[in-house]
């Protein structure tokens, strides 16, 4: 990959040029650039976007545009990657349609080489278990934005135990009202305060560790 191609990818993601992204991906593929090389630049770009987001230099609009941009750049490469850093089932619990954070997490994990089965929002709790079994998942990730639906996270964990998968599959949780305290209290293996931290979290879970990664605001 030459410098111009690097800058093209980097600029598209960092500045959220969503309308240019698909064409950039097609151009790169046509030029024979492989997905691994593209992925490395995407990670560079998202690292900067993530840093800016964590420092509150940018907010959700720019983060979403950056995430969509990198996903669109990768569209021509879908199915060609052999990389698999782990299998994750991700969803938002039933009675909650707030999926923006989950979508960001899914996008970030895909960029970092994880195979993600996105089961969507408002997901019946049994579906988390069924999908994890069907896909051989290493990690189940469940989130909610609502205080009212936080107790559902504990129910998923109970279902995992009842299904005999708790020792084989890690359980991570997230969402605006969720905290490290809550995650530890219900017995979840991991918690991350934002999409960027979730990549690190899943890496830790894949190594068999537990991890609770609060965002920089110092939430407990």
């Amino acid at each position: 990959m030459n410098e111009e191609q690097y800058k093209m990818i980097y600029d598209c993601v960092v500045n959220g040029k969503i309308n240019d992204a698909t064409k950039i991906g097609e151009t790169l593929k046509a030029a024979g650039i492989d997905s691994k090389a593209v992925g490395l630049v995407l990670i560079d770009a998202m690292n900067l976007v993530g840093h800016r987001y964590r420092e509150r230099e940018i907010a959700l609009p720019q983060l979403i545009l950056a995430t969509y941009s990198f996903k669109k750049i990768l569209v021509p490469y879908v199915g060609s990657s052999t990389e698999n850093a782990g299998v994750v089932v991700m969803g938002v619990v039933q009675n909650d349609i707030h999926d923006i954070g989950k979508n960001l997490v899914v996008g970030m994990l895909q960029v970092y080489g994880f195979k993600v089965h996105d089961i969507g929002k408002d997901v019946p709790l049994d579906k988390f278990i069924e999908q994890a079994k069907a896909t051989g998942a290493n990690v189940i990730g469940a989130g909610t934005l609502l205080t009212a639906t936080m107790p559902e996270l504990e129910v998923i964990l109970a279902k995992m135990k009842a299904a005999g998968m708790k020792d084989k599959v890690k359980f991570m949780i997230g969402g605006a009202p969720v905290t490290t305290t809550f995650a530890k209290k219900i017995g979840a293996d991991g918690y991350a305060g934002d999409a960027i931290l979730t990549v690190e979290l899943v890496g830790q879970l894949m190594k068999g560790n537990q991890a609770y990664l609060a965002a920089s605001e110092g939430r407990s």
Partner: protein, 349 residues
């Protein structure tokens, strides 16, 4: 200080930085009202009399000073064409959004609070509660701000992208929604309400930058608060998130109070009292995500005591409350413990 101030006076006094007998308490009880009243959430969300009974039942069990008659996010959104999904045991959900393309922002209409959506449910509930409880409670229903409403009529991802990619149509939609919200709060006050728990939920740094919120949120919020003041109502701004734009919100000329998740955000009650306590009443102190659902009455009592010590230093300007809606699984005794603690610790130094 007036002697034996009633709860309604107490809440309004606290919001206006006047002395109070003790720190007033809000339970931030929305869906849990259905549980308290023995109704399904489906019934509660669609009947003003059932919502009133549910809220009164919550008040009976806890003794809070301030109620927020509310069932879900769809009361106004449904009027703009959002399809809801009602189930017996679950909070009604926004199921199909009305705004799917940028041009749909222009299709939003000015709503009649008495006729459109389910605003009438809340208005009927307010009338019923006021009739039954009189001044024993203050009533400030949840009313979404224009930018919050935008994320109820349209997928939030799309709203966030429209801030950058399609600002003009979004502004036109926000303007229409603002006019409806002013009419709604006017009707709330006519029904016997004291104003609004005005949900400025997107005013937090992980959602919008301060600059973005100034343009897409604050401009409209200020217009509405100006109208609320003219109508003789009070307001509590409700902000979600971990990095609330507190400086911006507290600078609104007509803001009375701010409710935020002090236990989970980057701003404690103590910090807020020092930085903003002279501008707005602080509404918080209880953690709805841990203490209220995982702890017991003693834990709540300790948390309340600590919050009051930090936020009630000058004998006013604080309402003890959770940072957001409490879970329907919250034990009533926990909220009752908060009320008891507020009475006990307000003037214990």
């Amino acid at each position: 200080m007036k002697s034996r101030m009633n709860p309604r006076e107490s809440v309004i006094s606290a919001l206006n930085h006047e002395p109070v007998d003790s720190v007033p308490v809000s339970g931030m009880a929305w869906t849990i009202g259905a549980i308290a009243g023995g109704f399904t959430t489906k019934e509660y969300a669609q009947s003003g009399s059932k919502m009133a009974k549910g809220q009164i039942a919550f008040w009976d069990k806890t003794g809070v000073d301030l109620l927020h008659p509310t069932s879900d996010m769809g009361q106004t959104a449904e009027g703009w064409g959002v399809k809801m999904r009602y189930e017996d045991e679950l909070t009604p959900m926004l199921d199909v959004f009305a705004v799917k393309e940028p041009e749909d922002w222009d299709k939003l209409a000015l709503l009649d609070p008495l006729r459109d959506g389910r605003m009438r449910v809340t208005l009927d509930a307010i009338e019923g509660i006021r009739k039954r409880l009189g001044d024993k409670v203050a009533l400030m229903p949840y009313v979404p701000s224009p930018l919050t409403s935008a994320t109820h009529v349209c997928n939030m991802e799309q709203v966030m992208m429209d801030i950058v990619l399609n600002p003009d149509p979004l502004h036109r939609g926000l303007k229409t929604m603002s006019e409806t919200i002013v009419a709604y709060i006017d009707a709330v006050i006519d029904a016997g309400g004291d104003g609004a728990l005005f949900a400025t939920t997107r005013a937090s740094g992980e959602i919008t930058t301060e600059e973005q919120y100034r343009e897409f949120g604050a401009e409209y919020d200020r217009q509405i608060l100006r109208a609320v003041k003219k109508q003789g109502g009070s307001n509590i701004l409700h902000v979600c998130g971990v990095t609330p734009h507190f400086e911006l919100l507290s600078s609104y000329p007509n803001a009375n109070g701010i409710n935020w998740w002090d236990r989970g955000s980057n701003l404690t009650v103590e910090q807020a009292k020092k930085g903003y306590g002279d501008r707005v009443c602080l509404v918080g102190g209880l953690d709805q995500t841990t203490t209220l659902i995982l702890g017991g009455p003693d834990d709540v009592r300790n948390e309340a005591r600590q919050a009051i010590k930090a936020g009630f230093t000058d004998g006013t300007g604080m309402i003890l409350a959770p940072g957001c809606e409490i879970s329907p699984k919250t034990e009533f005794v926990n909220m009752k413990a908060a009320v008891t603690a507020a009475r006990e610790f307000s003037f214990q130094r």
